[in-house]
């Protein structure tokens, strides 16, 4: 699992229930769109993330709708397991030892 993927997962685990758009994730993590969207695509296809359109009409808002991503329960479990595997493999975090 790559660093940007971990960043995205970490961001989405702390996300509000309604979810975060790709632009929000990009702004908070600093990941460029060329890296971010393939990650979101892969995670969504793997079932770790789910996405839905924001609850508003595009014509009323006068702009295109945002796609909001949120972590699935399976994704949250798998992400925690993956992170713990990584931490075990690296001998834990430096500030926890």
């Amino acid at each position: 699992m790559t660093g940007p993927t971990l960043k995205v997962l970490g961001q989405l685990m702390d996300a509000p229930i309604k979810g975060l758009s790709g632009a929000d994730v990009s702004k908070t993590t600093g990941i460029a769109s060329g890296t971010l969207y393939p990650i979101l695509f892969r995670l969504e296809k793997a079932g770790w993330l789910s996405s839905k359109w924001e609850d508003a009409d595009a014509s009323e808002m006068g702009r295109p709708r945002k796609r909001l991503y949120s972590m699935t329960s399976v994704g949250a479990q798998e992400a925690r397991a993956a992170v713990s595997d990584i931490l075990q493999g690296s001998g834990g975090l430096a500030w926890q030892s």
Binding site: A23, S26, G34, Y37, F41, R42, L43, W48, P64, E78
Partner: protein
């Protein structure tokens, strides 16, 4: 004169800047269109709206264009997850053509060498019965097919087995679990299977 020149330059720069400012949103939209066209048809509308909304969250026109350029990369990457087998097939065709070219080249070179030997024999011996001498004949008839065989894939495989080389493309076990890190990678033995797995949402 210098003042007039400076005024003209300033005017042209202002004109260019205004023109660029007017065109940049269209450029960003065009880039999103390019990015979206890399994707499967069933995904295009979704990503067109999503990425257009994404661009609107960035205030500057240049930053929108930079962001849209990133989306072109994203489109290529996401689209590439589906066209992998096609690229693989095209590459294997190219590899096949290159192998054929190598083989034909080797045969041609060998025949050129053989003909050169024969021509040398002709110049040395005036009699027709003497210029097809046995070593030249064996070389001309026997060596090219041997070289053709050596360059053939069958022979390559046999040599690879002999020296213990493994084909890295066939060494991956079929049915290996699909990780979220690489859902576009080959899962089964057949490429078509993989496309179905990655594109079943359509």
């Amino acid at each position: 004169m210098a003042i007039v020149k400076a005024i003209i330059v300033a005017f042209l720069v202002k004109l260019g800047a205004d023109e660029a400012k007017a065109w940049l949103p269209a450029l960003a939209e065009w880039l999103v269109g390019v990015a979206v066209n890399r994707l499967d048809e069933c995904e295009r509308e979704r990503y067109r709206e999503e990425w257009s909304a994404d661009l609107l969250t960035f205030p500057g026109e240049i930053s929108k264009c930079v962001r849209a350029l990133g989306m072109v990369c994203a489109g290529l990457r996401i689209g590439g997850m589906g066209i992998g087998p096609k690229i693989g097939a095209a590459l294997s065709r190219v590899r096949g053509l290159r192998a054929l070219e190598r083989r034909l080249g080797a045969v041609f070179e060998t025949y050129v060498l053989g003909i050169s030997i024969l021509l040398a024999s002709v110049t040395e011996n005036s009699s027709l019965s003497r210029w097809i001498h046995l070593p030249g004949f064996i070389y001309w008839v026997g060596i090219p097919p041997l070289i053709f065989l050596l360059f053939s894939p069958l022979c390559h495989r046999a040599i690879s087995r002999l020296i213990g080389l493994r084909n890295r493309y066939s060494s991956r076990p079929s049915g290996q679990a699909q990780s979220p890190e690489e859902p576009g990678q080959i899962v089964g033995a057949r490429a078509g299977e993989r496309v179905e797995k990655t594109r079943d949402h359509c």
